[in-house]
Subunit: 255 residues, 3 copies
Amino acid sequence: MHAPADLADLAADLLARIRVRTPRVHCITNSVAQQYTANMLLAAGAVPSMTISPDEIAAFVAGADALLVNLGTFDAERRAAIDVAVGAAKAGRKPWVLDPVFVDRAPQRAQFARDLLAHGPAVVRLNGAELGALSGSDPSGDAPVRLARGHATVMALTGGADHVTDGTRRATIANGDPLMARVTAMGCAGSALVAAALVVEPDAFIAASAALTAFGVAGEVAAEDATGPGSFASAIIDALYGLAGATLRRHAKVS
Amino acid sequence: MHAPADLADLAADLLARIRVRTPRVHCITNSVAQQYTANMLLAAGAVPSMTISPDEIAAFVAGADALLVNLGTFDAERRAAIDVAVGAAKAGRKPWVLDPVFVDRAPQRAQFARDLLAHGPAVVRLNGAELGALSGSDPSGDAPVRLARGHATVMALTGGADHVTDGTRRATIANGDPLMARVTAMGCAGSALVAAALVVEPDAFIAASAALTAFGVAGEVAAEDATGPGSFASAIIDALYGLAGATLRRHAKVS
Amino acid sequence: MHAPADLADLAADLLARIRVRTPRVHCITNSVAQQYTANMLLAAGAVPSMTISPDEIAAFVAGADALLVNLGTFDAERRAAIDVAVGAAKAGRKPWVLDPVFVDRAPQRAQFARDLLAHGPAVVRLNGAELGALSGSDPSGDAPVRLARGHATVMALTGGADHVTDGTRRATIANGDPLMARVTAMGCAGSALVAAALVVEPDAFIAASAALTAFGVAGEVAAEDATGPGSFASAIIDALYGLAGATLRRHAKVS
């Protein structure tokens, strides 16, 4: 199956619903990414919270509408917080997104991420190197489909183009700009946007595809006037804040 | 009593004194807010420090002129650091500001914040939801006055308009811009500015009112050219950096 | 000996090599500085990583090309991470930079920094107050030369002008802008750039001098259009990203 022909319209609708619903997204993420992730969520109309204290994370997840789990700094306290938070999300039937950052750089991260897959993330957002570490060697090139089917999740592989699949449907989103790779936490911020999307769109494949379409188009709009990664980092927040249907339809390159 | 008629002039004078005095402000705040808070203090002319290590926080507070206590990520180590820091501030007769962030989201935060009130913060800066959690149900609508009198402090309630009271005097500051709510740590940065103000202005009611007037006017100036929350976040820092009396007098809406 | 006459050309060449080589720089730094440091490295073409978890820091340093050690928040866990990371850097013969931040504010930091000097940092980047704390009273005014010789390292003292010495050669770089002191983590970001430079330039004196020349010129370019420290913080990232030989030659004030 191909991507929905109307992914630009779905993205516009998604943003409108986020702005009305103002979903609360609790984020377990690393300290490098916290500020930028929070600002991206606020720009979209969502309300972030960020504590990882084991004393209170269950209360924050219980009060939130969705959860983002970024492996971030990987230590015993963080792992414990993730376990509690994922348990609270499952208990409250709240969608959560797994961002297995840097699983390609430290082996224990990959094992932990594989274990987390068994706990039912709605979406896994990752890059190519992280996919390789998560899936092991898979010469077929179809690791995302296999992982999506095996874990009943949506795999969202981002890079030059983004590829989203739930194991049956597939979308390719050829939006974005190379400057997105020159700003730290850009991928994490995209994952957070997917988490916000899941609150207003129960079909996780549509939520992830539409959110990444909006994010990629915001990147293209931002790149038009940016003079480098510093101004770009601000401009993509502005672009997402004001992103409207006409711009999405003009820019979206989905298939 | 009403607000000082000349709050715009007081704000201009306050900024001038901060720029000359370059007060050191030690901030206990969460990792989401640290960078933005530090940059706002630097823009105002103050010098931030941020460590929360229990091994050295007493030395840093002893070398600082004021202290900001933001509940931030709430864990045992943080609570211990706050206890040590508040003790050091009291011992050194240095003013400190309490920012009871998210006390509405986790009950143990509210209790901890109530305990801290007994240790004499010069100013408590919070939003409406946090006030509700801190004061319990208070149908009179006059919780700030009651809290200010009961704890001999200044309550600074920020939101669409800011309300400051020491239990007797009151100021309402109708400045600011809705984009201020779309940038993470904006409230924390405002609290830090109040802490810097307390170093150069011993009347905590004047210090808080004047600092929040300057902050709100900086927000209005920033909003004039910003195209969204990304550019706004930078622009308010620039606006505070260059904020002068004429602009304050033209914009201030205080009563 | 004087600075290389062609430091502007060396800086242009250094930036070109970083952009091609995309060195991995692992940074142990404080949470205030992490995001800005990462974005400065990305703008230069390097690839940052930031974990301080003792469980995995050795793996990250082993996979990196250089290491930055910023004393940052100073606690037992951090000290342990630094010990492991420096050991891994030495084992892998990878250059590392020491940034002894705030050693003038807490005595145990100064002692720890002195101990680290014995482990062979390629470069020590610090400001005047930190130099005073590290070197003790040295009325000769030549503490950098003494420290550089005594520890076989390069001392890079930054401030109004930057002074770099390996104990024999000396460079003075009179570039930069006062706004650089109004953005938190600017010094840390400069130290990170020096770490990236060490990957492509084995002569640590040239690497540090050329990197700080590029950094100072980027600051001057950024200041041309900035309206305050907020816009400046983004603009210097943009300036470094696009910095070319002609601009370096036009701006460089080295001796």
